[in-house]
Structure formats: structure tokens, C-alpha cells
């Protein structure tokens, strides 16, 4: 199969096949052009790359290690399981990769203020962290519902010096936090950079955020070859907006023997209508500045998503995933709340690693794919975040009194 390389296509016009592009107020075009130019210049600037690499080495803690999950393997049909440990990054998830890159770009563009949206709080915490490190003002928009279910992360952001604005419009979750951040950006675009946390939104965000997360897959691919001697049979990741997934998938795109499998949040099951499985249960449309798969009704109104995981609770998905789905290069499957929580528990007890509930969707996927591919297979999973922030949710789910 000859794949139109998304990297090449997107760098010209910001499209991935029929997906991507820019559907935004005209007021933002200047800032998006400025950002695209800054990103393009930084990509080929050795000074920028050296600065980011040094930050990752001395601050993020990169390269992140590869852990073989030998006891978890028995729950996954005996397949060999390798975990790419993004949970060990500073701030506890892969989100810091993108945040440090965009924060450096913010300084290059001469802007002093960043705004960010957050669902689970991971991206908000990472943004607040980078702002503290680089002396930037930081405002984080967070749905009021999410500020309640992730109160620990709200406190973390405040301790780091960020202002957290609870969003009371609409469904009061991640999608509404993005709306409010966009409104702030339209108003303050001259002084402010919108540090979008996933591979969605208008061009250049899907491409730029992917580029900052590619390091996950680049490292993991080299580590597999060095430590195992071959590439994995499948690379697995959870998908909300899709940033951790595209980060680990992208460097494997040309390895056609490697299956790429994303796991969307099935909530209470697709049939129930209460889910966040955008590719599996949605249809093409436009949301938050990009054409992609969207959960929507017959009038094109966005439908609220549902997931036990605040970080996957989003009714859209990155446009490059929509494209990889349509051309068949990646598969997208569904894991519901109960499957994810079972995997959460098994990983915690079999390996001593408490994963984020987001990540638990990929682990539940591994338990299925491992059985399908058998004991001779090798699976690489992006362990995108740690579960400290989810202790309250998990305790509630499992009936552990707090």
C-alpha cells in the first residue's frame, strides 16, 4: 500500500486527506500563520532543537525507559508486553513533551501569556509547570465538572502559580473549556499563545503537537530494536484527542508489518449512547477548528461525550487519526469503563504500576490483542500517564473507603 505520508501533506496545507484544515474566526488566522511559521523555523533550527533536547534530558527525564511487563503478560494471552514509561516524565504524563516545545515557541514569538484547556488536569498541570519554569503568565480553562472530579490537579495548578478558570457553559467539560480558551485567544491573541494540549484544533496544532510527541515513538522504536532485537507486532495507545497515540504511532507509520491500534473510550458502551468513541461511534464533521470525526446529532450539534476517564472525555479526535483510520493504516477499537478499570486493577497488582485511567484503556486493549496475536507476539504500549490523580475515582469505583 502506498500511503500518502501525512507529514508531507500536512506541512503544505494542514490537511490529512479530507480532514484537518482551519475552521476558525478570521481574527485567529494571523496568529495561526505566525505559529505555523515559528514551528517550521524551529523544526530546522539546531539551536531550538538542542534547547528542547537539553530540557528533556535535565527536566523531563528523557529518554523514558521501556519496562517489560512480565506478570501482566499472563493476562494478555502470554504475549510479551513492553511499556513505554511516559508516566515517569516530570508531571506524570506524556503531556510535558508538547508543553515544553510550545512554551519555547511562545518565548520565541515574544508572547508572555499562555492559556490552556484541560480535562483530567494533566495538560493543565504540565502547562502550569512550563509557565513557572519559563516565567510566563498562565491561565487554565477547565470544565466545572472536571474541577470537581480532578480537584487534586486544580490544587497542583494553583500551587504552580496558574490561574484556574472553571467553565460553567454547556456540558462543563473539556469541550467547553476549549470553547472558552478560544474566546480568550480571539480577544487577547496579540499577547497570548493558546497552548493547545492535543493533536486537534486548527492547523498547525495537529501537526505541531504531533511533532513534539514523536519523541515517544522515536525512542521506543530504537529501544525495541536495541533491547528486544526486533520491532513489535503491534503498537497500542489510548485515544481521546489522540496526542499520546500519534506520538508513538508516527515513527512506525512506514513499518507496514507493525499494527497500530488505538483504543477509544467506550464509556457505558456505544449502544448506550454514553461514550467518547469518536471514530467508532461518530461521523465526519467540524469541531474546534478542524474537520474530523465528531459525536454529533442530525443538526450538526456536538453531542456530549461520556467516559470514566476525564482525559478521554472529548467528542472529537485528532484529524490525522481520522485519516489513518480511513486509509486503514491504524485501527481504532473501543474499551468501555468496566474493561478499563479491570485492566487498571490488574496492572496495579501485577506490575506495581498504577496507570492513569486513560492509559488503562490501552492496557485493556492489550489484554484482548495479546490473546488474538498469541504468546509469540510482542506488544508495545504507550503507558501515557500515572494514576495518582485517579486514586479518588478508582477508590470510588472499587468501593475502597477514603
Amino acid at each position: 500500500m502506498s500511503v500518502i505520508h501525512p507529514l508531507e501533506e500536512s506541512s503544505i496545507i494542514g490537511h490529512f486527506g479530507p480532514y484537518g484544515g482551519r475552521f476558525v474566526p478570521e481574527a485567529l488566522i494571523g496568529a495561526l500563520d505566525q505559529l505555523a511559521a515559528a514551528h517550521l523555523a524551529a523544526k530546522s533550527d539546531p539551536t531550538f532543537q538542542a534547547e528542547l533536547t537539553e530540557l528533556h534530558r535535565t527536566y523531563t527525564g528523557r529518554p523514558s525507559i521501556l519496562t517489560e511487563a512480565k506478570r501482566f503478560s499472563e493476562f494478555a494471552g502470554g504475549a510479551r508486553i513492553f511499556l513505554k514509561r511516559e508516566d515517569l516524565n516530570h508531571t506524570g504524563s506524556h503531556k510535558i513533551n508538547n508543553v515544553l516545545g510550545q512554551a519555547l515557541l511562545t518565548k520565541r514569538m515574544g508572547k508572555k501569556r499562555i492559556i490552556a484547556e484541560t480535562g483530567a488536569g494533566q495538560h493543565g498541570v504540565a502547562s502550569a509547570t512550563a509557565a513557572a519554569l519559563m516565567g510566563l503568565e498562565c491561565v487554565v480553562y477547565m470544565g466545572e465538572e472536571d474541577t470537581k472530579r480532578q480537584s487534586l490537579n486544580v490544587a497542583r495548578m494553583k500551587l504552580l502559580g496558574a490561574e484556574v478558570v472553571p467553565v460553567t457553559q454547556g456540558s462543563k467539560t473539556l469541550k467547553d473549556a476549549i470553547n472558552e480558551a478560544m474566546r480568550d485567544w480571539v480577544t487577547n491573541v496579540e499577547t497570548t499563545h493558546y497552548l493547545l494540549g492535543t493533536v486537534a484544533g486548527p492547523h498547525p496544532f495537529p501537526e505541531m503537537v504531533r511533532d513534539f510527541h514523536r519523541i515517544i515513538g522515536v525512542e521506543a522504536r530504537a529501544q525495541m530494536l536495541e533491547e528486544v532485537g526486533r520491532l513489535p507486532d503491534a503498537v497500542l495507545a489510548c485515544i481521546g484527542g489522540g496526542s499520546n497515540a500519534i506520538g508513538i504511532f508516527h515513527p512506525f507509520l512506514d513499518d507496514s508489518q507493525v499494527q497500530l491500534i488505538g483504543f477509544e473510550a467506550g464509556g457505558s458502551g456505544i449502544a448506550s449512547g454514553k461514550h467518547a468513541a469518536t471514530i467508532s461511534g461518530g461521523s465526519p464533521g467540524v469541531l474546534h477548528g478542524t474537520r474530523t470525526y465528531v459525536l454529533q446529532d442530525e443538526n450538526g450539534q456536538t453531542v456530549e461525550s461520556h467516559s470514566i476517564s476525564a482525559g478521554l472525555d472529548y467528542p472529537g479526535v485528532g484529524p490525522e487519526h481520522a485519516y489513518l483510520h480511513d486509509i486503514g493504516r491504524a485501527q481504532y477499537r473501543v474499551i468501555n469503563d468496566d474493561q478499563a478499570m479491570e485492566a487498571f486493577s490488574i496492572m496495579s497488582k501485577s506490575e506495581g504500576i498504577i496507570p492513569a485511567i486513560e492509559t488503562a484503556h490501552a492496557l485493556a486493549g492489550a489484554m484482548i490483542v495479546g490473546r488474538e496475536l498469541g504468546p509469540d507476539s510482542i506488544l508495545l504500549i504507550n503507558l501515557s500517564g500515572r494514576g495518582d490523580k485517579d486514586v479518588q475515582t478508582a477508590a470510588q469505583y472499587f468501593g475502597i473507603p477514603l
Binding site: 496545507i13 484544515g21 482551519r22 475552521f23 476558525v24 474566526p25 478570521e26 481574527a27 485567529l28 488566522i29 494571523g30 496568529a31 457553559q169 454547556g170 469541550k175 467547553d176 470553547n179 478560544m182 474566546r183 480571539v186 480577544t187 487577547n188 491573541v189 496579540e190 464533521g285 467540524v286 469541531l287 474546534h288 477548528g289 474537520r291 465528531v294 454529533q296 442530525e298 443538526n299 450538526g300 450539534q301 456536538t302
Partner: protein, 268 residues
């Protein structure tokens, strides 16, 4: 440029000959209820509004401030859909007033691009304002609007560069929507100086009428804008009259009074 005439393009010829600006009022369909929206628009027209912009309420209106967000939410809770938007458009056109629809892009895409343009035409509408459709993404829409002979109206912002203005304004027909400020819809205490300079930058590139929107809420502001623009767009201020009224009768009276006052403002 469009080779066809619409009620809207004819309105701007008339207001120009009367040496005044056109007054354009905005209301989301389905607000305050699907039925009462007609009464509010009727009151606007009685008060002297020259053209009406009907909003297609959308779940994620990133260009709108709290007043229009709340109105859109209320409308969506009332169950407003495409058929209600077109019914209100038809009712407005039947009053003999030029009418356009303002909508974010996804409802158009979901309805079907060609079908949407034709439904506007069939309801007697003059065109559509698309605040989040960039000209780069507008190929299908350009064909559809040309085929159905309706106007397509894009927004130009104070941040739009001189080099980009020609790209946007050549895609427009009917009129050009100049955003008075960097920000979202809502009432403001004063009109930004950016509005006047934006209008003069657009004039260098186009002979189309230019209407200014965002933040205009009273007769003084309308008068100020009418000195340099061909149209004045008022939205949030009308909606606030409805939101602050205890009954539909009170809402109609207050909307009519505001329209009367604004209509004096746009006469120079």
C-alpha cells in the same frame, strides 16, 4: 463579484441613495421560543430594522460572548433545528425584509452544503454569514452559493493583514462583515478605534458595502459607526432586551424601542 441581485444587495443600494447606513438586527432562531422569535423579529422590523440576521444556534459558538451563548443554549433546549431556522427565515422574508442566516460551519456541512444554500434561497433568504469558515476551506460553499444565487458573507477582523484582505473580500458578496474589535460578541461601552481603520483598509480593496458588527449596542454607537460604514449590526443588545423582559409583550416593546432608537442613529 456576484452577477445576481438579492434583496440584501438592493437594500444597500437604497440606503446609499438615502445617504445612511443600513440597520441589521440579529436574533437566534428558537429564541426565546420557536414561536416567539417571529414576534421579536416583527418588533425589530416595526422599529425600523432594515435587515435581519437569523442565528442558527450551535453547541460550540466560539465567536460569541455570554449573552448570545445563553440565548443559543436556550434555543437548543427548545429543540431548534434546521427546519425552524428556515421557517423563521421565510417568515422574515415574507415581511418584505432582507434576511440572512448566521451559522457556524458544522450545521451547514451536516445538512448538506448544496442543499443548505438552496434552502436559504427557497426561504427567500439573501445569504449566509459564516464566522468560522475560512476562505481557504470554502471551495464547496463558493460553488453552492453561486449555484443558488445567494450572498456569502465573511468576517474581516482587525488582525486581518493588508495582504490578506483582498483574499477574503473577493470571496464575499452582498456585504463584508467588519468585526469592530478583537473579541467575541457582546455589548461594549465604546466602539474600538480599530473599526474605523479596518473599514478604510477594506475600502481600498473592495466596492462592496461594509457592515460593522461586534459591540454596537446603542444609538450613539450606531451613529458613530454609520459615519464611515454602510451597515451597522446589532445582536447582543436586542437579545438582552428579551432576556430582561418578564413577558413576550414587554420584550416586543423593548425591542421595538431599541430598534427605533438605533434607526435614528444610522441616519446621519
Amino acid at each position: 463579484m456576484a452577477s445576481f441581485a438579492t434583496p440584501l444587495s438592493e437594500l444597500f443600494l437604497r440606503t446609499k441613495s438615502e445617504n445612511r447606513a443600513a440597520l441589521i438586527g440579529y436574533l437566534p432562531a428558537g429564541f426565546p421560543t420557536i414561536e416567539d422569535a417571529k414576534l421579536v423579529i416583527h418588533a425589530m422590523v416595526e422599529g425600523g430594522v432594515d435587515a435581519v440576521e437569523i442565528g442558527f444556534p450551535y453547541s460550540d459558538p466560539v465567536m460569541d460572548g455570554p449573552i448570545i451563548q445563553n440565548a443559543a443554549d436556550q434555543s437548543l433546549r427548545n429543540g431548534t433545528g434546521a427546519k425552524d431556522v428556515f421557517a423563521l427565515l421565510k417568515a422574515t422574508s415574507d415581511l418584505g425584509v432582507p434576511a440572512v442566516v448566521m451559522t457556524y460551519w458544522n450545521p451547514i456541512e451536516k445538512y448538506g452544503v448544496d442543499k443548505f444554500a438552496q434552502s436559504i434561497k427557497d426561504a427567500g433568504g439573501s445569504g449566509v454569514i459564516t464566522p468560522d469558515l475560512t476562505v481557504e476551506e470554502s471551495t464547496a460553499w463558493s460553488h453552492a452559493t453561486a449555484d443558488s444565487e445567494i450572498n456569502r458573507i465573511y468576517v474581516v477582523a482587525p488582525s486581518t493583514s493588508d495582504s490578506r484582505i483582498p483574499l477574503v473580500v473577493t470571496a464575499c458578496s452582498g456585504f463584508i462583515y467588519a468585526a469592530s474589535l478583537m473579541g467575541v460578541t457582546g455589548t461594549r461601552n465604546s466602539i474600538s478605534g480599530d473599526a474605523r481603520s479596518l473599514v478604510s483598509r477594506i475600502r481600498k480593496e473592495s466596492d462592496l458595502p461594509i457592515a460593522v458588527g461586534l459591540g454596537v449596542s446603542n444609538a450613539e454607537q450606531a451613529h458613530e459607526v454609520a459615519a464611515y460604514a454602510d451597515g451597522v449590526i446589532v445582536g447582543s443588545a436586542f437579545i438582552r432586551q428579551v432576556q430582561e423582559s418578564a413577558s413576550i409583550q414587554e420584550a416586543r416593546d423593548r425591542v421595538r424601542e431599541l430598534a427605533e432608537s438605533l434607526a435614528k442613529g444610522v441616519r446621519r
